[in-house]
C-alpha cells in the first residue's frame, strides 16, 4: 500500500516540477521575447501547478476511499475510518442541524472573548516590559515561568478554580494565546531604533507621545506576528478544553461523535476545526495588511 501511495505522490510532484523547470528554462533562454509571452508562460506554469495540487488531492481522496472500502489493516486500522463518501454524507446531514451551528457559534464566541482578552493583556504586558525596566523586572519572571506550561496542563487547575466550565475553557484558550502575543510585542518594542526615538524627542514629543507615535507603531508588525501565533495557540487550547470539559463547541462535537461511534462526524468536526482556525489566522494577516500598509 505504501508503495502505491508513494508512487502516486511521486508522479504528481514529478509532473509539477518538470513543468515548472521547463517554464523557467524557456523564460531564461529567450529573454528578449516581450512581456506578454513570458506572462503566458507564467500563467501556464501556475495553471500546471494548480492542476498538480488538485490531482494530488483527488488522488489522496481516491486512495482514502479505496483503503477504507477494502478494510485494509496495515499499521493503521483503516476499517475504523469512514470513507470520504460517508464523510460527505455526514457533512450534508450535519450542516442542516441547529446543534452543528450552535457548536460553531460557541467555539467562535470563546475564541473571540479569549483572544480579545489575550490581545489586551499580551500587548500591554509586552509594551510594559519593553518600555520600562522596572516593569520588566516585575512581569518577565511570570512570563518566563508560565510560558513553558502547555495550555492543556492548565485544564485541571482551570476546572478547579473557575465557577463554571465556560469560564475555565475561556481561560485556557486565553492562556494559549497570551504568551506569543506578549513575547512578540516585547520583542518589537525592544527593537525600536534609537534614532527614531531621538528624532521624535527632538521634535518635542514627550515620553508618552513617543510611546504612541513611535514605539507602538514600530511594534505593530511584530505584534501581528504574535497574534497569528497566538491564534494557533488559542485554537489548540480551546479544543483541549472543549474535549475535556465542554458542553458545546466544535471540539465537543468531535469528541462526542467519537463517543457516540459516529465516526464520519469526527472527520467533519476535524475538517471544520481546520477551516475555522485557518480562517481566523487568515483574518489576522488581512488585518495586518490593513493596519501596516507602510511595511513591505
Amino acid at each position: 500500500m505504501n508503495e502505491i501511495r508513494a508512487g502516486v505522490t511521486d508522479r504528481g510532484q514529478g509532473q509539477a516540477m518538470s513543468t515548472a523547470t521547463e517554464g523557467r528554462h524557456k523564460v531564461a533562454m529567450k529573454p528578449g521575447r516581450g512581456a506578454a509571452w513570458s506572462l503566458r508562460v507564467v500563467r501556464k506554469v501556475r495553471w500546471a501547478a494548480l492542476m498538480a495540487s488538485a490531482a494530488s488531492l483527488i488522488a489522496g481522496v481516491g486512495l482514502w476511499q479505496w483503503l477504507t472500502e477494502s478494510h485494509v489493516h496495515l499499521v493503521l486500522d483503516f476499517s475504523n475510518i469512514p470513507t470520504p463518501v460517508a464523510v460527505f454524507e455526514a457533512f450534508r446531514a450535519v450542516v442542516v442541524t441547529k446543534t452543528f451551528w450552535r457548536d460553531i457559534y460557541w467555539s467562535m464566541y470563546r475564541i473571540l472573548v479569549a483572544f480579545g482578552l489575550a490581545i489586551v493583556v499580551g500587548v500591554s504586558a509586552g509594551i510594559a516590559m519593553g518600555y520600562s525596566a522596572i516593569l520588566r523586572l516585575v512581569i518577565a519572571p511570570y512570563v518566563e515561568m508560565l510560558r513553558p506550561i502547555p495550555a492543556i496542563a492548565w485544564v485541571p487547575m482551570a476546572i478547579l478554580v473557575w465557577p463554571t466550565t465556560e469560564e475555565s475553557i475561556v481561560s485556557i484558550t486565553f492562556l494559549g494565546a497570551v504568551f506569543p502575543i506578549a513575547l512578540n510585542t516585547w520583542e518589537g518594542v525592544r527593537r525600536v531604533p534609537k534614532e527614531l526615538v531621538k528624532a521624535a524627542r527632538s521634535l518635542g514629543a514627550n515620553r508618552m507621545n513617543v510611546l504612541f507615535h513611535v514605539v507602538v507603531p514600530y511594534a505593530i508588525p511584530s505584534i501581528t506576528v504574535g497574534m497569528a501565533l497566538g491564534m494557533g495557540g488559542a485554537w489548540f487550547a480551546l479544543l483541549a478544553g472543549e474535549m475535556i470539559s465542554g458542553r458545546f463547541g466544535i471540539g465537543y462535537f468531535t469528541w462526542e461523535s467519537y463517543q457516540l461511534i459516529q465516526y464520519a462526524n469526527i472527520i467533519v468536526g476535524m475538517l471544520t476545526i481546520g477551516f475555522l482556525s485557518s480562517v481566523s489566522t487568515g483574518s489576522i494577516y488581512y488585518l495586518k495588511r490593513k493596519l501596516v500598509p507602510w511595511a513591505e
Partner: protein
C-alpha cells in the same frame, strides 16, 4: 527683544562606554554659537562631529562640562533644538505630510495649521506632490529632504544639521543651500552645520570651525566677512577664498 538661540558650550567632554572603559571622543570643548549665527563645523570622519551635535541637541549626557541654551542648561531634547540627523529618521508609518507636521502637532498646533506649515516646507524642499507617500516609496535623497522639511517645520531656535546635503546631487544641493540661506535670513535661527565639504561651508557660513581628530579639539576658527548672498564663482576665485580653502584643507589633513 532679546535674540534667542544662543548656544554656549563650556569645557565639554563627551565619550562612550565601551566594554566597561570610557573613551573620550570630545574633550574640553568650549565654544559660543551666537544667536542667529551660521556656523559650519568641518573635520575628518570620526572626529566627533555627530557626537557633538547630538550632545547639543540634548541626546548625550556630557561626561563633564555644560551646554547652555540661552542661559539654561540643556539636559533633554527639546523642540527648540531641531536636528537633521545623519541617518534616516523619518517615521516609516507616517506619510511625508504626517512626518513633517509631527513637530507642530506635538507643540499643539491644529491639524489644519500643521498641514499648511507642512505643505509650505514640503514644497520648499521640492517634494510637492509627494505628501501622501510613505518614506519607503522615496529615494534616499528625497527622504533626506523630507527630513529637512520636518526639522524646519518645527520652527526651532537652533537648527543642528549633520551633513544634510551629503546625499544630494549638485543641483538639488545648490537649490537647498539657497533655500536654507533664505530661511536663515527670514527667521534668524541659529544654524550649526556639519559638513565634509569645505566649499559648502565657505559658501554658507559666517564662521567655520575645524575640529581635529585629536579628541575633537578645535584646530582653527575662520571667520568669513563676505556679505550674503554670496557668489560661488567669485568666492572661490578670489584671493582670500582660495587662501581660506587651502588653509581649511590643510587643517583637515
Amino acid at each position: 527683544m532679546q535674540k534667542v538661540g544662543n548656544i554656549d558650550i563650556r569645557s565639554l567632554t563627551l565619550g562612550f562606554k565601551n566594554f566597561g572603559s570610557t573613551k573620550a571622543v570630545v574633550e574640553d570643548f568650549s565654544f559660543k554659537f551666537e544667536a542667529g549665527s551660521f556656523t559650519s563645523i568641518i573635520g575628518s570622519s570620526g572626529c566627533g562631529k555627530s557626537t557633538l551635535l547630538n550632545a547639543i541637541g540634548g541626546h548625550y549626557k556630557p561626561l563633564a562640562g555644560h551646554i547652555f541654551l540661552d542661559g539654561c542648561e540643556v539636559k533633554e531634547p527639546n523642540a527648540s533644538l531641531g536636528i537633521v540627523f545623519q541617518q534616516h529618521t523619518l517615521f516609516p508609518w507616517k506619510t511625508v505630510t504626517e512626518n513633517v507636521r509631527f513637530g507642530p502637532m506635538q507643540r499643539g498646533a491644529s491639524k489644519a495649521k500643521a498641514n499648511a506649515v507642512a505643505a509650505k516646507y514640503i514644497e520648499m524642499v521640492g517634494l510637492a506632490g509627494y505628501g501622501d507617500y510613505y518614506p519607503k516609496m522615496l529615494s534616499g535623497g528625497m527622504q533626506h529632504r523630507a527630513e529637512i522639511a520636518r526639522a524646519l517645520a518645527n520652527a526651532p531656535a537652533v537648527l543642528l544639521m549633520d551633513e544634510p546635503f551629503g546625499a544630494l546631487d549638485a543641483q538639488m544641493r545648490a537649490s537647498l543651500q539657497s533655500s536654507l540661506l533664505d530661511i536663515w535670513k527670514e527667521t534668524h535661527l541659529t544654524i550649526i552645520f556639519v559638513t565634509h565639504d569645505v566649499e559648502e561651508a565657505m559658501y554658507l557660513s559666517e564662521r567655520i570651525v575645524v575640529m581635529s581628530r585629536d579628541r575633537g579639539r578645535i584646530c582653527e576658527v575662520f571667520a568669513l566677512d563676505e556679505p550674503f548672498p554670496r557668489n560661488k564663482d567669485k568666492l572661490f576665485a578670489s584671493e582670500g577664498g582660495r587662501d581660506l580653502k587651502e588653509k581649511c584643507i590643510g587643517c583637515l589633513a
